[in-house]
């Protein structure tokens, strides 16, 4: 076919300016988001590091002290005590949540009549806040007006109502139960998506080959869910390392400051004692831990399933 030069809609010059105009529009669309992230995230992040190098009182001039905050922190028994407690809590609560959520996910996986209702009921505590859930459980755990101690007493399990907040163990385990109640539904749904991602054909084929339910679970379900399980565990870990509300509201860090978490300790150093620079130094340590967890998370999630 014979053709002349195709009609040029625009001269190159005009096309260039149009392109630039379109680029500008695109930038304008994302500008508010970028601005917010710069002012309320990046700036405070840099500032937190800057502050950690200072003796920074609430009022008065900050004084540059180099790494002195970090040196003080290395030998601060209460800080490491809070870190140890946070690590202990994180390990226990993550295992506990998983031990409850995984059976629940298996239970609600196959849709039968009422399954949706069960899923919804188990999920309900997830959508209420940690604040309101903590208030509710601080009542349930109360020795005089609560549920657990008076109930145990009336059933004859204890000789007198036990104050659950009096000892470390009873405080700790009550809060673990509360957190499991509050977050099992979340982990159940995450694990459920993993379970539903396993093709039913694979399961069916294994059944045809005579694999028992047990064999199918350990040889097919578990290996194929490795990635989802890793994700659920890491989300629990990241959430638990930052725990604050429940220990502040229910236990007030007690008894004898035995349930003060890392965030709780940073909070009290920064906003009760107003040692802002020292609080910032501790925040940097916490931040390094959380970023490490996130990097591990990304690594794990990038590993192809079954690899």
């Amino acid at each position: 076919m014979i053709q002349g030069t195709p009609p040029q809609p625009h001269t190159p010059r005009r096309r260039g300016s149009r392109l630039r105009r379109k680029q500008l529009v695109g930038l304008l669309f994302v500008a508010p988001a970028v601005l917010l992230v710069l002012v309320f995230f990046l700036a405070p992040l840099c500032m937190a590091f800057w502050m950690s190098l200072h003796n920074w009182p609430l009022l008065g001039r900050p004084r540059f002290i180099g790494l002195a905050n970090y040196e003080a922190l290395m030998v601060d028994q209460r800080f490491w005590g809070a870190m140890r407690f946070t690590a202990y809590y994180t390990v226990i609560v993550t295992i506990a949540i998983f031990a409850v959520a995984f059976p629940l996910a298996l239970f609600v996986e196959r849709a039968r009549p009422l399954t949706k209702l069960y899923r919804t009921a188990i999920f309900l505590p997830v959508v209420v806040g940690f604040g309101s859930a903590s208030l509710l459980w601080s009542w349930l755990m109360n020795v005089d007006v609560g549920l657990f101690s008076p109930l145990a007493y009336r059933l004859g399990l204890t000789e007198k109502p036990v104050n659950l907040l009096a000892t470390f163990d009873t405080t700790f385990w009550s809060i673990v139960v509360m957190v499991v109640w509050k977050t099992a539904g979340f982990n159940m749904i995450i694990l459920l998506t993993g379970l539903q991602g396993i093709s039913s054909e694979v399961q069916e084929a294994a059944r045809m080959d005579g694999a028992s339910g047990r064999q199918r679970f350990f040889r097919i379900t578990l290996p194929l869910m490795r990635r989802t399980i890793a994700l659920a565990l890491i989300l629990s870990v990241a959430g638990s390392v930052l725990a604050f509300d429940q220990f502040y509201i229910i236990a007030d860090g007690g008894p004898q400051n035995s349930t003060v978490t890392a965030v709780y300790w940073i909070f009290s150093q920064s906003f009760v004692s107003f040692r802002l620079g020292y609080g910032a130094a501790m925040s940097m340590v916490l931040l390094a831990i959380l970023v490490t967890i996130s990097v591990v998370q990304l690594r794990l999630l990038r590993t192809p399933e079954g690899a």
Partner: protein
């Protein structure tokens, strides 16, 4: 007896077992909330005794709610604070993430990928670790101890998830739809509002419900940044009521406060469950 009858019986037994377990588990998860709700309708004196039985024996009364209303400068001020913070967070988050999602999905511009990664990677950094500088920055901007200040922080916290959701929502809209509208001469903004917005509404619903729940329930930042008692949101106010800052702890009032805090979350979730679960799995799987 035939094998068929035995199989039927076995199935019936399995179904019964399934539903017994299902009902008991469901009850265990709902019980604390239901128990607290029942106690919130007891009289003050009855609420000061162990909740056995849970239901009000001396008759239903709204006395606890009336007592709750009297706390501080009146509970409705605090509920109003919470509601305005949550509503403003939802509106601003939706607006900003709509724009950014559209920009990242449909336009080419310098540093586009770098900016996207910058915004998304902030999820890795816990906001708990930057609260002190945030406090100082808000003070510098004159926004410390104000509700708009805390709204801006909540919005920023939700941006990574929201922009991720909105960009995916826009990516899912076929380009042909825009091309057709462009031929009709629609401007960029008109196109976003009239053509694209209706198509990404499910994504907007997901962003909105997450922003609402998180900002309505947030405790630590509100505790630190709101120092004037009249500015308190519900979680901060109720924690103060429970810790006895207003005299003897009225447990009935605490339960009614818990109900006031939980009811909007439960109601919204039951209404918009589909969008909530979708956000959960999208955020988790990708």
């Amino acid at each position: 007896m035939s094998r068929k009858a035995a199989a039927t019986r076995r199935r019936a037994w399995a179904a019964t077992r399934y539903h017994v377990i299902g009902l008991v588990t469901s009850l265990l998860f709902i019980a604390p909330i239901a128990w607290s709700m029942l106690v919130s309708f007891k009289s003050t004196t009855e609420a000061a005794r162990p909740p056995l039985p849970p239901w009000p024996v001396e008759g239903f009364t709204t006395q606890s709610y009336e007592n709750l209303a009297q706390y501080g400068v009146g509970i409705w001020t605090y509920a109003g604070n919470s509601l305005s913070v949550a509503a403003a967070t939802v509106v601003v988050t939706v607006f900003i993430s709509l724009l950014a999602g559209y920009g990242f999905s449909r336009f080419q511009f310098p540093l586009k990928n770098a900016l996207f990664v910058l915004i998304i990677s902030t999820v890795m950094i816990p906001f708990q670790s930057i609260l002190t500088p945030l406090f100082l920055i808000l003070t510098r901007l004159g926004l410390q101890n104000t509700l708009p200040g805390i709204v801006l922080i909540y919005v920023t916290l939700h941006l990574p998830f929201s922009i991720f959701m909105m960009r995916n929502a826009f990516d899912a809209v076929p380009k042909e739809i825009e091309d057709a509208a462009r031929v009709d001469g629609a401007s960029v903004f008109l196109m976003l509002r009239r053509v694209m917005l209706p198509l990404v509404l499910p994504g907007v619903a997901t962003v909105a419900i997450f922003a609402f729940l998180a900002s309505w329930n947030e405790f630590l930042a509100a505790l630190i940044l709101l120092t004037d008692q009249r500015k308190y949101t519900l979680p901060v106010m109720m924690a103060a009521v429970r810790s006895g800052q207003f005299g003897t702890i009225d447990w009935g009032a605490v339960q009614s406060g818990v109900m006031l805090m939980m009811a909007p979350c439960l109601g919204l979730f039951l209404l918009l469950q589909r969008y909530y679960i979708r956000g959960l799995t999208a955020g988790a799987v990708k």
